[in-house]
């Protein structure tokens, strides 16, 4: 089982949405990362066969998908970015309609729908109208639709947007299990969704594929570029202005633990010396930190870092009571959790502010890009 994407190109008017992308998908979970407008959705639509490439070819097991037609569509499931449904549809109607679209026989339809409703905890809302469901539930209905025909190739465009942390974890586990002998391609802004489960990741930027590999391989690209230090809160604005800060955490003594990206420690050292003046602070010396996929993402998309860092800063200043003169202070974990919404609890560990900021940088990135926003 193999899906070959061979030099695919797609343009819209004067914009090249996908530019000469080649990759070969094999069974496992594939994460497709990239900022908004990177071309992920266009690429997925072409893989789903609902958009025609201007150049290049997509082949499944060596055969062009254009020649396989219905047979190809029989073996894949697709969850579009925008979940659509007819307003009069209940969950039951929607899934039965989707089953009819996929050509499932009636006797199989009922069995399969029952399985999926239980798997995705939708049994209670089976007869409810979709329009009355919450965003997360609607998303789960969409996921159920994609899984209806037990596809060999599953294409999910931002499947976890709107899911709460518990649902995200369950969904990730479900996908991991499902992908044992199938190809699962997930497009997402939420790096943690693919960090733990993706067999391989591909990163898109401006329509092109700029990196591909396992999480471990990709993370090596930012090895030695991730730093952390603990600084007095008054230094923070300068750090935010001059460095790519990816994470902040308030320490008990009023200082701030900063995680940032830099080519080397020199820049941060210079900054530290300038700010510290005569005073020397051992904790303020930057030390290398273990890189994560999120760091790579933010390294590759620096505009997101700057944007998010500013957003974080603004949000912190707005939402949190000012304790010290800097405007930064401590907040209880529960409050942090409520502020961060869905980004907490993916690990099931106790919430710390550092975690929430880290997680939120993913969510806020997607939210802001969608025009919604946490900023």
């Amino acid at each position: 089982m193999e899906l070959q994407i061979d030099r695919i190109t797609k343009s819209f008017k004067d914009k090249r949405a996908v530019d000469d992308v080649s990759m070969t998908l094999t069974p496992g979970v594939w994460g497709l990362l990239g900022a908004n407008g990177a071309g992920k959705t266009t690429l997925m639509r072409m893989i789903a066969g609902i958009m025609k490439p201007d150049a290049g070819q997509i082949r499944y097991d060596g055969l062009p998908i254009g020649t396989l037609k219905g047979r190809y569509r029989e073996i894949f499931g697709y969850l579009p970015q925008e979940f659509g449904f007819y307003p009069e549809f209940t969950v039951k109607d929607y899934l039965e309609y989707a089953a009819a679209l996929k050509g499932l026989p009636v006797r199989d339809t009922k069995r399969r729908i029952k399985e999926l409703l239980e798997m995705l905890s939708l049994s209670d809302v089976y007869r409810k109208k979709i329009v009355k469901l919450s965003g997360g539930m609607k998303r789960r209905v969409g996921i159920a639709q994609a899984l209806l025909n037990e596809p060999e190739l599953l294409i999910l465009d931002e499947p976890t947007s709107g899911l709460d942390p518990g649902e995200r974890v369950r969904f990730r586990n479900l996908l991991s299990e499902f992908a044992k002998d199938r190809i699962v391609l997930i497009s997402t802004h939420i790096v943690s969704d693919v960090e733990y489960i993706a067999t391989r990741n591909a990163v898109m930027k401006d329509g092109g594929l700029i990196a591909e590999g396992t999480t471990e391989e990709l993370v090596k690209l930012v090895d030695g570029k991730v730093w952390q230090c603990v600084i007095p809160a008054v230094w923070l604005p300068e750090y935010e202005r001059r460095l790519r800060v990816v994470n902040l955490r308030n320490e008990a003594d009023g200082r701030v633990s900063v995680r940032y990206l830099a080519e080397n420690a020199e820049a941060a050292m210079t900054l530290r010396k300038a700010d510290a003046g005569e005073e020397e602070d051992a904790d303020a010396a930057p030390v290398p930190a273990a890189p994560r996929l999120e760091d790579l993402y933010l390294w590759l998309f620096p505009q997101d870092t700057a944007h998010d860092a500013a957003g974080e800063s603004r949000k912190m200043k707005t939402d949190r009571p000012s304790v010290s003169g800097t405007g930064y202070g401590q907040i209880p974990a529960a409050k942090a959790a409520s502020l961060e919404g869905s980004s907490v609890g993916t690990t099931g560990a106790t919430v710390t502010y550092g975690q929430t900021v880290s997680d939120r940088s993913e969510d806020s990135a997607s939210g802001q890009r969608k025009g919604g926003g946490n900023a």
Binding site: R45, I50, G70, R71, G84, Y97, A100, L101, K102, G103
Partner: protein, 325 residues
Amino acid sequence: MMSGGKVSSGKVSSRDFEKCLRMAVKGGESERTKRPGGEKRGLAEQVKPFGNRQQEIRLNGGKRQVEKSMERLPGETVRMRRTAALTRQEAEERFGRYAGCSGIMRGTGPRSSFREFLLLQIRFIGLRMWAVQTVLFTVLGSVLWILMGRGFWQEERYMARFLCRLSLAAAVSSLPFIYRSFRYRMHETEASSRYSFAGVLLAKMLMTAMGDAVLLGVVFLGAVLGTGLSVGSTFLYLLLPFLLASWLGLSLMGRIPATVFPAACMAAGAVLLAAAGIAGRLWDGFYLQTLTPGWLAVCALITLLCIRQAKRSVRDAVYPELQIA
């Protein structure tokens, strides 16, 4: 590809290799694909019949022969081994490709037919559309009955005018149902389904046509039996405006953004209505026509245009991006 050198051990020659490769790549009958009784075995056993079965059986045998030849090469030169490895790789690649094809060609279990799909569409789309149309025309008929009285139905000129407008309304009210999936963002899900967007669009068109045919049929019978209008005139004033409105609507499909399609259909209906009104004022005999060979030819021509437009829409709808415009 091949070294062309003679093999010193005499176990296998380059010619044998070429033969094996040919069999793997192009196909060749193998003894090992058949059991003594002539029964086939190997991978071919697992593969349900499809168009290239014979080719697959040959490939299966070809690959085994290559493997067998490889096993007989313990004392060969480095060059020969390299060639053997390349041959094996190429044969396996090609074989794997065709074997992989067989997986998808086997299909993924039983699937419902288009007829069954169409019947299900009645439940999901047809009933709602027909209910809306029935309510719309029942209300329209009742209002006219109350306002105009019994005399209205006996006056040939009024009746022709009424049928013309009703026919336009029938076409205009049903067309937006075809494009409903764009309005509610279902088109991507529908397009990625087994029948693709073209199949779904075709099903919706058939559904619409069925509904309109029943509706116009009932009106036709009612008009013929209960009014003073002749059969020919009733047929003409019901069919011609309907065909014209349908042709305009189908022509708009895929040429304008889906979001404005319902409004555009309404606008097209309004234009036709206005045109009929103006024609009625300018030409006294406009509402006194009957079905002549000339009008029949016009109806046939517009029917052909409608079919052409419908075919175009279905053909283009393979990739719904063309419909999104």
